[in-house]
């Protein structure tokens, strides 16, 4: 593979590189096209006075009008991708506010990946830093939930372990159990029950109250459908410790530290979690 040892660097097409950096800078700049060609990133490549000369006029459009077509499509495409990933936020904020925030986000975190799937990964962090958002705590919780849902949607399938796989264990073996969750699962600690809002939207029901409430959530996928499972703080501490590879006796200690739980409850929770198909393997160390 001799070709691989000769990477094509920007230095090999210096003028092309300049033109591409210029066009991209114009596309990513906010405001009208006339000011886009005056932004520092664009002017670094070509002075604004030269901008119209870089593009041919058509029968019907001036050079900068043609550039503006690409600017409009950039905006539309990315905002649309965020709308698809964050339908709850869109519903809560309304079209106008959502699109304004989406544009601010895109300007602040322009896409780096080849896939649009991960365009919104930094949106929850971004929203937590924006001033003037209505109900900022709820908005952030909702954004974190919707981001978790996108990860769960795309994760690989895992094998599913059955509860019978550890029937008849001694107490010592029981303490050394290690349970691995399926991959299509995320754990969320939120200050608002954002999942109740999402469920209401999906079922087209009346929207629930938006009062803060400490919420411990498992977001998971089963037969390609998304589910939320709300847990008590001790149950969540137990699951989280197991997900972090702790053996059951240590995980139960985390559960007690979180203020509750008993062996009987653990057994009941396991019964539920296994029936929800949340684990992919059971091992004894």
């Amino acid at each position: 593979m001799a070709a691989l040892s000769m990477p094509r660097s920007p230095a090999e097409a210096p003028h092309l590189g300049r033109l591409q950096r210029w066009m991209q800078a114009c596309m990513m700049a906010n405001g009208p096209v006339e000011s886009a060609v005056e932004t520092p990133a664009a002017v670094k490549e070509f002075p604004a006075s030269q901008a119209p000369g870089l593009i041919r006029a058509s029968r019907t459009l001036a050079p900068l009008e043609r550039l503006d077509i690409y600017r409009g499509m950039y905006d539309l495409r990315l905002v649309e991708a965020l709308r698809v990933d964050y339908p709850g936020l869109l519903k809560f904020l309304g079209e106008k506010t959502f699109e304004e925030l989406a544009r601010l986000y895109i300007a602040s975190c322009p896409p780096e990946s080849y896939t649009l799937n991960r365009l919104g990964d930094r949106l929850p962090d971004f929203l937590s830093q924006v001033d003037g958002i209505h109900r900022p705590g709820f908005v952030e919780a909702l954004a974190r939930l919707e981001l978790a849902e996108t990860f769960v949607f795309d994760e690989e399938e895992s094998p599913v372990a059955a509860m019978e796989s550890f029937g008849g264990l001694s107490e010592d073996q029981w303490g050394r159990l290690r349970l691995t969750p399926i991959r299509a699962l995320r754990l969320l600690r939120l200050n608002y029950p954002a999942h109740e809002f999402m469920q209401a939207i999906r079922r087209d029901e009346a929207l629930p109250s938006l009062r803060p409430r400490r919420t411990h959530l498992i977001v998971h996928r089963r037969e390609y459908g998304l589910f939320h499972l709300s847990l008590s703080a001790p149950a969540f501490a137990l699951f989280q410790a197991l997900a972090e590879r702790a053996p059951l006796d240590e995980a139960m200690q985390s559960m007690f530290d979180a203020g509750g739980g008993s062996q009987k409850q653990v057994f009941e929770w396991f019964r539920q979690w296994f029936s929800e198909r949340l684990f992919s393997s059971v091992e004894i160390y």
Binding site: E12, Q20, M23, Y70, A81, P111, E112, T115, F153, A184
Partner: protein
């Protein structure tokens, strides 16, 4: 008139789209082949991957991407190519295509198919990258002519000559999007028949057809409607020059039912007519 790789005319296919998943799984429609948008399946192990595996079992699949960015002056993205190669194995892809364009620079991605200046510098640059990519993928690269909305003043080549020269220099092939030829011809004021008449016949492995949106001052390649008659006439000309080539109908906005999209693709069969046959049909009409 076969292409130089001996790749088959797969018949009339459509793009595999999420809204049609339930219909395809439930009805298993009779269908020549599907084209998938590579990026929609590269990073998911969820439902899209499951549906894809079902489709691959029953239909020939071709991969079409939008992020290869062969024209970019950024370094080649081997992480992307690795995933592309893995997906090609999983789908038993008959071939892989992308576009003659760039999508981003300086580590960013605009997620648009951006126009190249058609210059000697661009040609050298793209040719070098196409060879690297084809070596890595261990298969030929097929590039589609994009719809463009601007031309750079510095261009010294026509798009069709640039593309033809690129195939000579690199051994790459062409996915000829007949609608894109039409859209760009409207936007830039050239004769679309000149374009298709100058494309090297043995390099074309696939055709794209689609609808578009005429904004009056320019046409946008929206894939949002039926194919217009001017584009069908151009398709007929391509057939008369090149013979039967795997033909794919793209519909990406306001997507109608599977059957409507499929029926639109099958219309292409009506335009696969030889010049002699047209003359005969013409006489028959006069006689009647």
């Amino acid at each position: 008139m076969a292409n130089r790789w001996g790749l088959p005319d797969l018949g009339f296919g459509i793009g595999l789209r999420t809204v049609h998943f339930p219909h395809i799984l439930a009805e298993r429609p009779v269908m020549d082949w599907f084209e998938i948008l590579s990026e929609n399946f590269m990073d998911t192990g969820g439902r899209p991957a499951y549906v894809l595996d079902q489709v691959v079992e029953r239909y020939p699949v071709v991969m079409h991407g939008v992020s290869m960015s062969v024209g970019s002056t950024d370094p080649v993205n081997f992480e992307y190519l690795k995933k592309l190669k893995q997906l090609a194995r999983r789908t038993k892809a008959r071939w892989i295509s992308d576009h003659l364009c760039w999508t981003g620079v300086s580590g960013l991605n605009t997620h648009d198919l951006l126009p190249m200046p058609y210059t000697d510098e661009s040609l050298r640059h793209v040719a070098g990258r196409v060879k690297i990519i084809a070596d890595y993928l261990e298969r030929p690269v097929f590039l589609e002519n994009p719809s463009t909305y601007l031309e750079f003043s510095e261009s010294t080549w026509n798009e069709w000559d640039f593309l033809a020269e690129l195939t000579e220099r690199t051994g790459c092939g062409i996915l000829l999007d007949v609608n894109n030829v039409y859209v760009s011809s409207f936007n830039h004021g050239f004769d679309p028949f000149d374009y298709v008449d100058r494309i090297p016949v043995d390099r074309v492995v696939q055709i794209h057809l689609a609808g578009h949106t005429n904004k009056g001052t320019h046409i946008l390649d929206t894939h949002s409607d039926h194919v217009v008659d001017d584009v069908w006439q151009l398709y007929r000309r391509v057939y008369q020059r090149m013979g039967g080539i795997a033909t794919l109908l793209e519909w990406d906005e306001a997507i109608p039912s599977f059957d409507t999209v499929h029926a639109e693709a099958l219309k292409a069969g009506n335009y696969r007519t030889a010049p002699e046959q047209e003359a005969r049909d013409g006489r028959a009409i006069h006689a009647a």
